[in-house]
Symmetry: C3
Subunit: 134 residues, 3 copies
Amino acid sequence: MPHLVILYTPQIEHQTDMSALCRRLADTMLTVKDDAGAQVFPTGGTRVLAYPAAHHATTDGSGDHAFCYLNLRMGRGRSAAVHQRAGEALVATAREHFAPLLASRPIGLTLQIDKGPEVFDGKFGNLHPLFARP
Amino acid sequence: MPHLVILYTPQIEHQTDMSALCRRLADTMLTVKDDAGAQVFPTGGTRVLAYPAAHHATTDGSGDHAFCYLNLRMGRGRSAAVHQRAGEALVATAREHFAPLLASRPIGLTLQIDKGPEVFDGKFGNLHPLFARP
Amino acid sequence: MPHLVILYTPQIEHQTDMSALCRRLADTMLTVKDDAGAQVFPTGGTRVLAYPAAHHATTDGSGDHAFCYLNLRMGRGRSAAVHQRAGEALVATAREHFAPLLASRPIGLTLQIDKGPEVFDGKFGNLHPLFARP
């Protein structure tokens, strides 16, 4: 944790650079600060994964309507102000990335942040020590 | 919001038309009414995305057991009667679509509706105005 | 229900056998017992689905940092002890599977269990009777 998962309709695959969007969103996550000015999302735990759908249907089918849904799952214990700050920063980044598409085609965009409802949480990788704060 | 995401084992990819299933489910979503008779799911926000798994394992591995999981995430503030109505309508559509498969192969089917637990919700696309109610 | 969904960065696709991981995790799920010694996850409802991302970004981009996220969604009504037991069993299996990768490359691994927040739950497949307990 945290992770951002992007689900999207595949017709935009060659109309925008989704790998670049992933990188920009990860970079944005790393800039979010808590109320004391400390980094909210640990560098070693930050990841963005994007998945074009194999099949899809949108709206009433009356046009070539694309969709991109962005979901950030984060740990519990953060204030509403942090949620708001993270959401606004990510929307700003996504809005900038999608500006050319928004100007040229119909596309729905939603970004949501969930507080994870986990009842078990196990971490057993080796990344965090690489980014340990001094 | 709302969106319906379908996760399935890939052996059914060429045994049924998943794109047609997506369209039928989106059409079904658009027919669901609230207690006052108004459309529950806004046309401009309705989307269905389907994803075959790259790898999978099912049951105890004793046979070629397929699975298809359908998850509708919808906004908060709807009554239990609306959840029930939406769920029953979608199950009816999926059951009809999968009838030939249910008659010819082992397959597990689950449809769940979640009320989204989001702590931030940003929409910034351009689809809704296309479907504004007069 | 239950299902385990695995989301991962695609550079590990050819460094480890994800199909084997799915099978091992499903087998592990089938061994989990409740406080009375009964099987927690019904055989006919157990499935594991794995999805490599099409695009991704991890950490601060300073290296080839892989991630694998494992999420088990299970029904409500189980004790915290069952959650803990299931989580520890699955982490042990995944840790063993990933041991060669953990020894040879940077990789983040997280396994979480969620109690499903569903407001509607429909099952309409034909698998459960195949595994009915005598």
